[in-house]
Assembly symmetry: C2
Homo-oligomer: 199 residues x 2
């Protein structure tokens, strides 16, 4: 998605070899217009998969997931980080490892909202090692829900998450794949979809 | 907002005298259509205030704040709970007390995104004792930003937050005010706006 790549080039700040800050438009201050277009992009790609729910993880996945769900006309669920809510005991749990903070945390979804009748689109803002996506996929597996695909705004192509997910058969759409980054330059992967159907 | 009141009556679960669960459409599973209408409602009420930013608190304020910001054509900022992010040191901090968990937590906003040139609309999903709203107002005060008003989806009218905020001069729009609730019945306050201009 050229619009997102341009925005990353303009406003993204590379703080270290694996930290890219995009908090001026994506995950602290948020540009609702851009998120609306991101939602349309995800919905356009996954629209014929019979999706019944969009699943993301609080907090920064919520904005893109919400617009995607609105476009698809289905509910959006944000998995909660355990302890963040008086959510009760009737939940599916999974463990996610944060490489940024080097710690594990639990995520959960109330069992009533994710069932064997659901076909789920998983959405997140970033994909690096893939731990959050695997955690959400695990919640779906526990619920016997089908996974239609995974949409992420920014994939760090130099980390392993995207490859691992695709190797396991997931259809992963990343709107921007960063293959290399430094304070001087950010290099995006050329994607077939973009060549055939310019965004 | 009649639509929201109806949804609360249909799907809200009163777990105790002060816990109302609305996680089937508002703060775990989310109905994007309803949130879109909530955004329009807030934007319609506050549209002539010269608002430059919509401010909320992660995670469950994000959905209504995002649609409000989209309607107003301005960025949305979600204040982070401290420790939740590698957000750096250049932040404004405030302390918020959670009565649900009976503990304090820190919220923060990156200084670059909230300045003396901003006129801010504060949005949240729930208003009970008002601690989150006062915390966000404190962030604005530190930034010398003007506060245009406060919009909340559901106010617990039997707690003190709404009164305290209004007594301090804030223009608070609550789309549904619960004056009393039990497992049998939820009683909403009749609001002048709804009489004059049915939603």
């Amino acid at each position: 998605m050229k619009l997102l790549e341009e925005r990353i080039r303009e406003e993204g700040r590379v703080l270290s070899e694996d930290i890219l800050k995009v908090d001026s438009f994506l995950n602290h201050m948020v540009d609702p217009e851009l998120m609306g277009k991101i939602g349309k992009e995800f919905a356009g790609y996954f629209k014929d998969r019979g999706i019944t729910k969009v699943l993301t993880l609080e907090a920064s996945g919520i904005t893109s997931a919400l617009f995607t769900a609105k476009e698809l006309g289905v509910p959006m669920i944000f998995a909660k980080k355990a302890g963040s809510s008086n959510i009760g005991k009737d939940v599916y749990h999974a463990t996610v490892h944060s490489f940024t903070y080097d710690k594990d945390f639990e995520i959960c979804v109330f069992k009533d909202y994710l069932t064997e009748h659901d076909t789920v689109l998983i959405i997140d803002d970033f994909l690096a090692e893939g731990s959050a996506c695997f955690g959400m996929a695990d919640l779906c597996r526990q619920a016997s829900a089908k996974i239609a695909g995974i949409g992420v705004c920014i994939e760090k192509g130099f980390e392993n998450g995207g490859k691992k997910l695709r190797d396991q058969g997931y259809d992963v759409l990343s709107l921007a794949i960063v293959d290399a980054m430094s304070q001087e330059e950010i290099t995006f992967r050329t994607q077939p979809e973009q060549d055939q159907n310019p965004r």
